[in-house]
Symmetry: C2
Subunit: 560 residues, 2 copies
Amino acid sequence: MQNCPSGLNASQKIHIKGRLHDLEVAMREVKLTDSVIDGVNHSNGTINLYDTGGIWSDAAAKADIRKGIPRLRTKWLEKRDDIVRLEAFTSEYARSRMKDKTTENLRFAHHYLPYKAKKGKAITQMALARQGIITPEMEYVAIRENMGHCDNGKTYITPEFVRREVAEGRAVIPSNINHPEAEPMIIGSKFLVKINTNIGNSALGSDIEKEVEKSIYSSLLGGDTLMDLSTGKHIHETREWIIRNCPVPMGSVPIYQALEKVDGVVEALTWELYRDTLIEQCEQGVDYFTIHAGLLKKLIPFATERLTGIVSRGGSIMAKWMQANNAENFLYTHFEDICEILSQYDVAVSLGDGLRPGSIHDANDKAQFGELATLGDLTKIAWANNVQTLIEGPGHIPMNKIKENMDKQQSLCHSAPFYTLGPLTTDIAPGYDHITSAIGAALIGWYGTAMLCYVTPKEHLGLPTKEDVREGVIAYKIAAHAADLAKGHPSAVERDDALSKARFDFRWNDQFNLALDPDRAREYFGESSHGSDFCTMCGPNFCAMRISREISQSEHNKQQ
Amino acid sequence: MQNCPSGLNASQKIHIKGRLHDLEVAMREVKLTDSVIDGVNHSNGTINLYDTGGIWSDAAAKADIRKGIPRLRTKWLEKRDDIVRLEAFTSEYARSRMKDKTTENLRFAHHYLPYKAKKGKAITQMALARQGIITPEMEYVAIRENMGHCDNGKTYITPEFVRREVAEGRAVIPSNINHPEAEPMIIGSKFLVKINTNIGNSALGSDIEKEVEKSIYSSLLGGDTLMDLSTGKHIHETREWIIRNCPVPMGSVPIYQALEKVDGVVEALTWELYRDTLIEQCEQGVDYFTIHAGLLKKLIPFATERLTGIVSRGGSIMAKWMQANNAENFLYTHFEDICEILSQYDVAVSLGDGLRPGSIHDANDKAQFGELATLGDLTKIAWANNVQTLIEGPGHIPMNKIKENMDKQQSLCHSAPFYTLGPLTTDIAPGYDHITSAIGAALIGWYGTAMLCYVTPKEHLGLPTKEDVREGVIAYKIAAHAADLAKGHPSAVERDDALSKARFDFRWNDQFNLALDPDRAREYFGESSHGSDFCTMCGPNFCAMRISREISQSEHNKQQ
């Protein structure tokens, strides 16, 4: 496997040491070439970029997907006295799969026994933050958010600030103790806007190798977290391969696997089966679970009145289960039990919006906001159990109704971080929903959403290919960065300024190296013929930048 | 030449008759298939779509680019007693080109002698509107904006409303009397948001045939107007081919051709040369001119202090001219003369923003807003001459600074329609600037911008290919439609609702036929295996829409 797309090779990985803890925060450093003015060279220095690729973007390192990537956080975990390593997997299903002969050839070879909280210990980042403890994870994300600038004497985000945001529930550091491969990152409205990418096979498509490849690819491109939404065969085995090679936190929707275990018969789902699935995934290393616990039975009639009903997979499964069993949502009735399990591994809960609108017509309706209010109640229960909590949001929303979503979410859910899918700002562009939704994502990110779940061009039409993943990730990196600029995040504007200066100086390589997708920029530039100080777009006589430089030079001479 | 992309064949052209005038407004009608509920068919009727393709999207008609398309408006022009047909072209340059042997083989064969205002007659749509006259063009756009709904008894936009908006300068109907091939359309904040596409060769690329092909293609995809930004050879001949085949209004930047006439030597530009170029293009049929008359000499020092100086081609040319000649911008000093010429053909002026920011860093600075104030003064002069006026806007602007642009433009420019390039909301994504700018375009469209100038993925890198034109047009149709929805334009939401209902019903073909790019949607769907009531995205067991339909059915049965 190639470690990194060629464009990233122009940069190098650097590591910035922590002050409180024994840690090294990885980022990419781009060395800029000099500007030449009147024959004199002027240094443009270097610029650090936030990097999500882990070892996969480190040209100096080697990794083998059959062995998994280095377990970065193990050394911190081993110093802790509040957790313990188990002698066997707790989940019956996990144990049975380990012994299963038919999947032996698919199985990831290197298993690690799971960590778990010692009895009576509150071990989550939230619990520790509330005790006033600044963990290595907190210091790591502080340095990471600043892109190393805290060493320049300009401190933007302090470890103590991170601690306080986590303690208050306004930010989440997804960090299952069984996924020590993941680099710490933070999700909260006062930090850089993050993006999530989805991968996963369905009953009809893709295989394990392709999914692992896509997961690495999405991290290399800039995906901050990754959800495995597999619904086909071998979910357990696929997930193991992905987690062991995944440098970013991973999320899942456990109800999908639970449903596979009962062969797709919704009525046959039980709490016991679901519970075992949760534990199976906690011990494998999933960092956050989408749980559709807020879709109450009383809300179903509102949804059936809609133009497009229920469009959340998890939501439709739970609604069907409630209807078939004439019972309240077991994810709601067992929510305390769920939190107790999650708290023992520091798995975060992402409260799913099973009633998110699936069309412009259904935006901001009773079904949607009814569920959101319930998510607010559940947030308090999760926090009482020290479980870090995200709130999931829509969906399809016209621009003029987006702000109301953000405001309601913050007030109803006590400032817990919002994590939205898009939203798509129109329904009429199948094949281009990465764009319809990047518009909504940029807007809601600016309003305060902490993480944006990407949408690919294949949304509504099919499973994304690797190229679709690329289109989706970059569209969302754009949305997130546009939001960071609009919010005035201190380290956001630096990259724009450096790229624009390079553009004006005709330092083409610097421009490409600073781009979100260096390979694409180089490819497009290379397709056209061009000179060193113009491109085909305007040709030499009409290059405004070239003429503008002449004008500046002339003004400058006049003043002398 | 193929008349229309295959996806459009599923719809048919219909024509709605006017009541005040002898006219037929073309639109596309999509016949929807029935929904089948419990074995009973329920009609979904038809839906009309706004259509910019002219004869090129009419499967029943034939056109030949060597002959040009039908001259729709000639019959209205011939009834007018305020215009006259000239016996020869006025421009010396135009006459010399007609006789030029070297370009004979490139020349469009069918020439029409130009129309011009009779001496002393005020002939523009603005002049007529001010006299209380509802022209055929005004009735045409009223019916077009309503997508035929005025015949259903639900009148949204009346011809009188159109007249008032044009009279007050809040809307523009670009309609050079020498471009009768163009279907009337309106640009104003109270109407559907429009998009402009740019084509044109540069000294380094493309030929006439390719440019004509791109121009037709962009109209078929939904481009509302088209600017020919050619800077290479044979500008005059290329333009003739494009105009004679162009069903939408066409714009140009006359200074580009003027500069070609002096072989790229900026210093050699003169008012007389420019004047002849204006007349040449007025008599050819260009519907609006971008004129950088607001870039005053005193503003240049503000621009040279910037990170990225002047990035407008026209702006940089005029700044260089002023510097070299130590004189005020001749487009400013001769603005009255310019208006007098334009008013005789009803060519609109689009006041160019020569100082638009070319980077996030330079957004909303003194240079930019200084020029905008001058554009406001020039608007009054144009209006005094009955010249319809647009104001061009940025550029690169972070989301949080976009609203200020809109507000300032409306107050400084007396509510003249705003016409913006993007704006791009970040600089860091070369190769994806159709997306960085679609975000800004959607936002500024919602705030009230009347027309959005598209940006292709090749922006900053090279000349767009046909496929780049497609990506750019669709990204901007999305932005414009998202803005229409957010503004609550009465006929906008209908298409979203119809498409979403088709999606929920698994009426795949209806969904594709209602899509902005039916071909793309079909292609992506076709790449995946699927059944009639699910796609590979989720597979049959996890299709939320399928499950949701079962839930609704079950709720419905319960209530009976």
